[in-house]
């Protein structure tokens, strides 16, 4: 990396908020594990992040001391559990800059969050707000770099309603192709759903042009922020979206809890997805009226312990500082891009510079199948994801069946990148 002189008066490198990954690693019990006789090198945080002890402890403490169902009991435990659950909602709201905690809906995961919006369209009736009504002639726009969770719900919706699914392409460099933006997002478009950060290429997508065009034609915007919220500061005012979907387990929280944020006024007009307990206002045998958001979208007993864990994760990340997390991952990505460039036969997919990209690096190696790459790396303790990364259209776009992916979080280090590079050398020896 060449040092560049930053002009006086501009923010200098040393002014960036920092974190020390070596100190933080002590907070994560699992990181001291060995795998196959080697210190574990966990490079699969885009898949799921590891959990700090405070998250594990908060969940245990809740189960040991405060466990009860929420929003229905007058007893002390029920009140404590409800406070904990609603407290988690408030913490998540503050973390992403939501105006009101009631704009935060807890779901099972990001997939359910996206489905909650897709099925709102599917469940719309003649009296539903026109923004949620979809039929033949209407269009839904996604992108070619989406996770299956942001493709399949929209395909199902379009099949059911007769609407048309369209998508942004991806450039060779791994960026969204926006030259046909005005054609793709047009007055027939009802919703544009795309990822804030690619789970494969690491690309950070520009949002303002797409949002501006969506506003111009009256389309809604849903951002899949599963790979964004865990790694960089999130400010809803800045993103200017209508819906944001993300998941707890990628942000050092537990599995089993995801978040759908929606603009309050929109949520109030949105039809429910799952029906059941807790989401109702009044039920007779003939018909049901629904509760106000967020309850309308949280049918059944919610993930209470998981919400407590997620709140602890939010506190932990806030304590470290999301600016510091994002800067750490940026520096690590610069290091990793340089390091991977030294591996013969390695082809990187996605932006080759650490600008407009996050710490997720997907690559292929000399025609060696990613399964084989991953297996040899595992024998050396290096944990990477191999396969199609739930983004098969993107694999087709780049003409490969699968890729190998290394991804970072706040606890990742340069030494782990070195271990990856050494491991790739070993892969080439076995299959060369």
């Amino acid at each position: 990396m060449t040092a560049i002189q930053i002009p006086q008066g501009m923010p200098q490198y040393e002014e960036m908020p920092r974190l020390d990954p070596y100190t933080l690693r002590a907070d994560f019990p699992i990181l001291s594990r060995e795998i196959n006789g080697h210190p574990m090198v966990y490079l699969d945080s885009a898949n799921t992040a590891q959990k700090p002890r405070v998250v594990i402890d908060a969940m245990r403490e809740h189960l040991e001391r405060h466990n009860a169902n929420v929003a229905r009991s007058v007893h002390t435990l029920g009140t404590e559990a409800t406070d904990a659950y609603e407290g988690a909602r408030a913490k998540v709201a503050a973390f992403i800059g939501a105006a009101d905690p009631d704009e935060v809906i807890f779901t099972k995961n990001a997939t359910e969050a996206i489905n909650t919006v897709a099925y709102a369209f599917a469940n719309a009736g003649p009296d539903t707000d026109p923004r949620f009504r979809l039929g033949p002639g209407d269009e839904v726009v996604v992108s070619e770099m989406e996770h299956h969770s942001n493709i399949v719900p929209w395909q199902l919706l379009c099949e059911r309603t007769g609407a048309t699914l369209r998508w942004f392409g991806v450039t060779d460099a791994g960026r969204l192709k926006l030259d046909d933006l005005d054609d793709l997002v047009n007055p027939r478009t009802k919703i544009v759903a795309y990822t804030a950060v690619s789970n494969v290429l690491g690309t950070v997508n520009p949002t303002s042009a797409i949002t501006a065009r969506a506003r111009e034609v009256g389309a809604l915007v849903l951002l899949d922020a599963s790979q964004a919220v865990p790694h960089r500061p999130t400010d809803l005012a800045d993103l200017n979206a209508d819906f944001l979907a993300f998941t707890g387990h990628k942000m050092c929280g537990p599995t089993g809890i995801g978040v759908l944020w929606g603009r309050g006024e929109l949520l109030a007009a949105m039809p429910p997805f799952l029906g059941g307990g807790s989401m109702i206002e009044s039920v007779t045998m003939e018909r049901t009226t629904f509760a106000a958001p967020p309850a309308r979208f949280e049918a059944g007993t919610p993930p209470i312990t998981e919400a407590v864990g997620l709140a602890a994760a939010v506190d932990y990340l806030t304590g470290v500082g999301m600016e510091a997390v994002s800067w750490h991952e940026k520096e690590l990505t610069v290091y990793a891009l340089d390091a991977l460039a030294t591996v013969p036969g390695l082809r990187l997919y996605g932006p080759a510079m650490a600008v407009g990209r996050g710490g997720t690096l997907a690559f292929s190696l000399d025609g060696i199948h990613p399964h084989d790459v991953g297996q040899v790396l595992d024998s050396l303790g290096v944990q990477v994801r191999v396969g199609h990364h739930c983004a098969r259209p993107l694999m087709l776009r780049f003409g490969v069946p699968a890729m190998t992916r290394a991804s970072f979080h706040l606890y990742s280090t340069n030494e782990e990148v070195d271990a990856l590079v050494r491991g790739l050398g070993q892969v080439r020896k076995v299959f060369g």
């Binding site: 399964h371 297996q375 199609h388 069946p401 699968a402 076995v430």
Partner: protein
């Protein structure tokens, strides 16, 4: 775990020099199988001649385990009587489902005994089985085209 229990020389050899690869005519049935978790895929054709597997031809993309497995499948099953080929199939599936606790019979499985180690890696078992599942599927379909008797047998096994 030792890497070479998985990547036996025989497996790497079949991977680098696959036997019988490429789709050939004539054939009784063609199937396309995918492994949805990793995107591996295979197109496989079976040609039957009376009660014999005249040819198993295939093409596809996948990891060393799935490619070597298809190569060994070709070696073991092409030219064999159908019931024999199905017996090999059964033995291979049993080996792969055994989590490393099944002792392979080299007389039946030939080079496929090298896959005994793969059975200890649950994530890779599907890779090894991809072509074998495709073979069974194609053979049963090809048999249905020619002799109804064999179809019944095929379905029963």
């Amino acid at each position: 775990m030792q890497l070479d229990t998985l990547y036996q020389e025989i497996i790497l050899d079949h991977y680098k020099h696959p036997q019988g690869k490429g789709l050939r005519e004539p054939y009784g049935a063609q199937v396309h199988h995918v492994n949805p978790t990793c995107g591996d895929e295979i197109t496989l054709r079976v040609a039957l001649d009376g009660g014999r597997v005249a040819d198993v031809s295939y093409d596809g993309q996948g990891c060393s385990i799935s490619q070597a497995s298809a190569s060994i499948l070709h070696e073991l099953c092409a030219g064999r009587a159908v019931p024999e080929a199905f017996a090999v199939h059964e033995a291979f599936v049993a080996l792969m489902s055994g989590r490393g606790r099944v002792e392979p019979d080299e007389d039946v499985l030939g080079d496929a005994v090298a896959f005994a180690g793969v059975a200890r890696y649950p994530a890779r078992v599907k890779c090894a089985l991809l072509s074998w599942m495709a073979f069974k599927d194609a053979a049963v379909r090809a048999a249905a085209e020619s002799t109804p008797m064999l179809t019944e047998e095929g379905k029963a096994t």
